[in-house]
Symmetry: C2
Subunit: 136 residues, 2 copies
């Protein structure tokens, strides 16, 4: 990892750059932070598939959430670019929430996570390892 030279973007388009364990971990951490909110995944899965829900519908779809938390998480997701908020200037107020294309694009990755987790449950139970063991 001796990087005395900056290999600026000589790469033909797009290739991000070298990822050290440190920088990779930092990036993924930032990403996870975007998903970590107590209600964000619930919101995400309610909206996956292009669904359009208004605020009150989300409230009903996720009964345990409070208004404060719902709006807070929605706003964060909007700021992160995952959620789109459309205001209808009516009385009474009407606001619709959808996922952006980018938000939708998260679906396969979450699926991948689910598959990964599913694998563990078909695995043998590991034991304490002392010194030399044949375990994998």
């Amino acid at each position: 990892m001796t990087r005395t030279h900056e290999k600026v973007s000589y790469a033909p388009e797009g290739k991000p750059a070298e990822l050290t364990p440190i920088s990779a971990a930092a990036r993924v951490e930032k990403i996870l932070k975007m998903l970590e909110g107590r209600w964000k995944l619930s919101i995400l899965f309610q909206l996956f598939g292009g669904k359009v829900l208004r605020f009150s519908e989300l409230e009903r779809a996720i009964p345990a959430v409070s208004q404060k938390m719902l709006i807070q998480q929605l706003r964060q997701m909007e700021a992160d670019g995952m959620v789109r908020r459309v205001i209808y200037p009516e009385v009474p107020p009407k606001v619709e929430y959808t996922l952006t294309r980018w938000g939708q694009a998260l679906c396969p990755t979450l699926d991948s996570l689910l598959k990964w987790a599913a694998v563990r449950d078909e695995l043998p139970v590991p034991a304490e390892s002392v010194a030399d063991d044949a375990g994998l």
Copy 2:
């Protein structure tokens, strides 16, 4: 790959899971909890690629972590089946940490997350949406 109406569950054979938005969200939440610890991703990326590190090496590789946190996160990851801990009954003590096969298997998914995040940065900046808008 722009499927606007992607279903989250595949029903073909033996797959027991009908996934509602609720259950899917709950599952992914559990998975994220396994990765959410302040130092788990750092540990993961240090060990990716089959690397074997002893406790003190991890400490050095992740300078900001305290012993307490390092051991705590390692133990949780071990309990979750991602990390393997091998004890050498010597004096002085020696303990090596590696990822399990299952832990290693997380790598592609994290990569997928990185790619997903990278996409956003090539995207136009969204604006407030009022009533009808041509945005996506």
